[in-house]
Structure formats: C-alpha cells, structure tokens
Amino acid sequence: MVPTSHTVTAFDEDMKFLAHKIAEMGGLAERMVESSIRALIKSDIPLAQKVITDDLVLDEAQATLDDKVVQIIAQRQPVASDLREVFSTIRIASDLERIGDLAKNIAKRVVAISERGHSVNLVRGIDHIGDLALAQLKEVLDAFGSRSVTRINMVRDRDDEIDAMYTSLFRELLTYMMEDPRNITTCTHLLFCAKNIERIGDHATNIAESVYYIVTGEHLSAFRPKEDKTHKIVVDQPDA
C-alpha cells in the first residue's frame, strides 16, 4: 500500500523504522506469550523468569517508538495515510506492550502454581486457548506487515472463538473448584491466566482494527458480538 516513496527519503526511513520496530515488538510479544504458556504448562520456572525480564525489553522498545513518533509528528507533520499509520503505530505499540504485560503476569503465576503442582487436565484448556490467541497474534502481525485487510474479519471471528472458549474454560475451572476445594488456589490462578490470554486476544483484535484503519482510513463497524459471557455466570447455577 506504499506504492511510491516520499520525495523526502528521510521520511521514508522514519516510517520504515516505525514498521520495523512494531515488527520487532510483535515478535518479542509473540515469543513472550508462547513462552509464558509453555512455562505454565511445563512448570518451567527459568523460562517464566525469562519472560519477566523480556518485558523490560518490550517496554523499552515502546518508549523508543513513542519518541520516534513524537519526532516524526514534529518534523514531518504527517497527513492522510502517513498520519493514520503514525497514529495507529502508537496504539499498536501500546497493545503489544499490554500483551507483554499480560504474558509477564502469566509467567509470574507459574511460580505460584508450580509450587503446588497440578494435573495435566487442569491446564489442557489453557494450552488450547493459548494456541488460539497465539495464532491470532501471528495473524494480525502478518496483516500489519503486509498491510492487508482481507483476513481482518477472520481475526475478529477467531476472537469470538477465543471468547467462547474462555467462557467454557471458566465454567470448567469453576467445576474443578467445586469438585475439590484444594484446587481452588491453582484454579484461581489459572482463571486469571485464562483471562489474560483472552485479553491478549482482545488486544490482537485491537491491532487488527488499527491495521484496518491504516489501510482504509475507516473504523471497523463498531458493533461486535461478544462471546465472553462469563459476567453472566453465577456459582449457584453450575450447569447454566
């Protein structure tokens, strides 16, 4: 979607830097999410530690990117597609940073969960929802890289899937807790992990929307069916 280059080549370089930085942050966030889920499943504490330190790198990358954006706005006064790209870049960066935070949060819980030990059954659902969220993240980062909007709606559909899965995971974990109160600590942590992963999916969807805005200049239609129905789930109605 950038068919011709700017007359001022330094402007192009600036814009390339932004895209590059986002790709870099995206790659890092993706790795962090993947690692945190793996650490959770395998109770791999060193891997969890790695995720926690990686978050610092991600935060730093976001700060660099923010500085660059401020400089571009001051120097180049971007308009139209450039403006949309610069503006969306900030939002994407902040989404990625949030994704990093969420991954870090999962990694922190790994320590608490692994102390108690847990059965594979408990984390199977997490593994599955994590795979979905990761695929989602990969998809939007590809969409950003190629500035293509063809798969954006697919991303949103898949977010609905994640939401649905989160709802069922919520019920499942609730059931485990009711079956055996000893599971409550682990399951609560896992519940938060599941929530974090669901939010990662939301952030990925946000990124998809930002990409859509960059490319088309329009916002995706605001109405978006929510499949996360956990707010309606109540304990005294276990099979609702």
Binding site: T9, A10, E13, D14, F17, K68
Partner: protein, 446 residues
C-alpha cells in the same frame, strides 16, 4: 536512526585530498589572474573614455571661450550741442561724427601720454567706421548731448584675433583689412588701457550678422528659435507619445496589427534624421504650405523624430511598473483606466519625464532636418515681434546656427561656432539636470 540514514544514504565518494585554505591552488590563481586582467581592461576603457572626454572639453572650452570675450576701445567722449547741430546739418553726417571721434581719440591718447603716429585709415581698420554708431546713439539719446559718455566700441575681428592669439603678427600680410604696422598702434593702445578685453554680450544676445562682421554675430536669436521649436515639440510629442504608449501597452489587443505598429515605432527610432527633414519639407512646406524656415515647421519635424524615443521610453517605464500594482487596483474593482491613471502612470512618471527630456535634448541638438526646411543660420537675423509670430517667423536654431558659422570663411566665425557649442552644451546639461531632479523627485519605492 537519522544518523544511520545519512551514513548509508551518502554515496561512497572519493574524498578530495586535503588542501589548506591558506595557500592558493593553481586553478584559483589562474581564475584570480583572469579576473584581475578583466578589471584592468575595464579600468583602461573607462580611463580612455575619460581622457577623450577631457580632451573634448578642453578643446571646446579653449576654442569657445574667446567667443565670449571681445576687444573694445573704451573712450570717454563728450558731444556738445553745437557739434551735434553742426554734424546734423552736414551732408555726410556720419563723416562728421567720425571727425569728432578722431578728435576725442587724440585727446584720450594725449591724456594717457601715448605718442604714436597714426592716420585715420588705421582707425578705420582697427575699429571700423564708428561715426554711424555715434550718430545712432545720439539720435536715440538726445539728452546725453553735453554729458560725458563712455563709448565701448568693438574692434575689428582681426584685432580681436590678434589679442586672443588666433592671429600671429608674423602671419599678417598687409591688406585693406589690416597692415602689420597697425598692430603696433593696437599694442600701444592696449598698454594704455584704451583697448581692453570685455565680456561679449553681443554673442549672447545678438542675432546672426553678415559674413563680413563676425564681431556682431550672436546666438541669441537662434536660442529663441530653438526655444519655440522645443515648445512645439513638447506640446505635441509628450501628449501624443504618452497617449500612444498607454494605449499600446495597456489597452491595445495583441494582434498582428499592433505588432506591426510596434515594429514600425522601433524602426522609426532608427531612421536617419535627414529623412524626417525631407519629409517635413515635402509635407509641411510644399504640401501644407506652412512658412519656410519657421520654428513651427522645425518643431513638427522634430516632433516626428522625438515621438519614437518618447514612446519607447514611456512604454519601457510602463512595463517596469510591477504587475502587482495593476492587479491590486483591478482587485479592488478599479477600471482599467482608473488603474492606469491612478496607479501605473504616477509610478511610470519619472521614467516618462526622463525619456521626454532626453528626447527633447536630442531634438535640441538636431541639425540635418532643420537645414532641409530652411532653418539655416543666416536666417536668424533678429528676434520675433511677438510670442505668436515667434512660431511662424523665419528663424534658425542653435545647431543650425553653429553649422552655418563653422562653414563660413572668416576664421573668427570658427570660434563663434565653438562658443555656440558651449551654449548648446549648457542647455543640454541643464535639461539633463532637470531630468535627474525630476526623476529623484517623483521616484517612489514600491
């Protein structure tokens, strides 16, 4: 990031070897030398020009100054009523006055203790027949009879020439005009203070004299002729020229016809003036029947000649007015004419005036066409009777007068010609100074 861009963006280029700025390289030296040579040529050209200018001025002034002075015989003289009556009763009245003059002259010599032998004929040769001058004077001023009157009588042109160096004693061959011995008397009289140098008012105020009387020749009548011509030229060429330029520059559509007019105006400026002269002769005198040699006709011819100059300079100054001023006027809703007359013309005025004055100055110095319409020098025999007849009475103009003098055989006319040139140059200089003053006065920034 930006640094990295700059580094990678710059094409790999071999750097020039280090060169100190404190030493000149070969190329710079050559360049400087060329520049210095060029400046020297320019200076030489200017100096050469200055040199010729100085030579010109010196020769004009040294040759022309004598025209402004003349040698006069100054004599106190008293004519009694009895002498007057007696002279008037005689048959040869001027002869009688001549006799009185010789008596008076003798007396003056005695008073100053000059003892020279001379006869009446010598006096005739030195100062001519003065009896006529005296008679005219006393006839005009009878109340001066009995009083002492100081007469200043111009000496003959040869005596004039002798004193201002034009005539050398060894070149004098005895003739009926002058004999070598006469000069002894002249020298004596000069030492006694009877012959002395005086400002030649006749040259400034007089009219052209006969071929044999250079002493009585003056440029005044021709100045008046030129003046009337200039009035005609100014009155016709300024309005016609400016109107033409405004129309062509601001209003005329651009088509082949206006192009043709433009080309013709430019070409007209380069037409030799004598062509205008013959045109004037054919059209104004032979066809229209206007009087020959009249400043009116001269003015008409010079108008034709001046028009292209004025039109070209006016158009140039109209063009020089920035279009933004026209736009501004049109933008607030001024009509074309309002924009021209309220804004463009005032700004172009200094240029127009300068052009006009330069054109007038050119016309003032023009000779050839005047000769063709009969405004030759000897026509300027006196002043016009009134302002109006000044346009139609036969007269000459300064350059034509100068030409006529220069062509005459008597060498003392030659110095009159130079003197005339000085007068002409003074007029031209005055006009140019007026042009400069007007330019300064009207010039405005925009």
């Amino acid at each position: 990031m930006t640094d990295a861009t700059a580094a990678t963006g710059a094409p790999a280029q071999a750097r020039r070897p280090f060169a100190s700025l404190l030493t000149l390289d070969e190329h710079t030296k050559r360049r400087n030398a060329t520049e210095a040579r060029f400046k020297a040529y320019g200076l030489a050209a200017v100096l050469a020009g200055l040199f010729f200018l100085v030579v010109l001025f010196v020769s004009i002034i040294s040759n022309g100054i004598p025209a402004f002075t003349r040698m006069v015989v100054e004599l106190d003289f008293t004519l009694t009523q009895a002498q007057f009556d007696e002279a008037e009763s005689q048959l040869l009245k001027t002869g009688a006055y001549q006799g009185y003059f010789v008596e008076g002259f003798d007396k003056a010599l005695e008073e100053r203790g000059v003892e020279v032998e001379y006869d009446a004929a010598v006096l005739d040769r030195l100062i001519g027949k003065v009896g006529g001058i005296m008679r005219e004077f006393y006839a005009a001023n009878p109340d001066k009879i009995g009083e002492e009157v100081v007469f200043e009588l111009p000496t003959s042109s040869r005596v004039d020439g002798y004193f201002n160096g034009r005539l050398k004693r060894e070149d004098v061959s005895d003739s009926r005009f002058l004999e070598a011995s006469d000069l002894d008397l002249a020298d004596e009289l000069y030492e006694a203070g009877i012959i002395k140098s005086d400002f030649n008012w006749t040259f400034i105020t007089g009219a052209d004299s006969g071929v044999d009387n250079p002493g009585g020749a003056g440029i005044g009548a021709s100045v008046v002729g030129s003046f009337f011509m200039m009035i005609v030229v100014l009155a016709l060429s300024l309005p016609i020229g400016v109107a033409t330029s405004i129309y062509l520059e601001e209003f005329a559509p651009k088509n082949w016809f206006t192009d043709l007019i433009e080309v013709n105006i430019s070409n007209l400026a380069a037409v030799p003036s004598i062509v205008f002269g013959i045109l004037g002769l054919a059209v104004f005198i032979q066809f229209a029947g206007l009087p020959q040699s009249a400043p009116l006709v001269g003015g008409l011819v010079l108008t034709l000649m001046t028009l292209p100059t004025i039109i070209i300079s006016t158009r140039a100054s109209l063009k020089a007015v920035p279009p933004s001023i026209r736009d501004a006027a049109l933008g607030v809703g001024a009509s074309k004419m309002q924009s021209v007359f309220h804004h463009v013309l005032p700004l172009a005025m200094p240029g127009i005036l300068t052009g006009t004055i330069i054109g007038l100055a050119q016309a003032l110095g023009e000779t050839a066409p005047l000769l063709l319409i009969g405004m030759v020098g000897f026509v300027a025999r006196g002043y016009p009777d009134s302002f109006l007849t000044g346009f139609t009475e036969a007269n000459s103009a300064m350059p034509a007068q100068i030409y006529t003098w220069a062509a005459r055989a008597d060498a003392s006319f030659y110095e009159k010609a130079w003197g005339g040139i000085i007068v002409l140059l003074l007029f031209l200089m005055t006009m140019n100074i007026i042009a400069i003053i007007l330019r300064r006065r009207f010039e405005r920034r925009w």
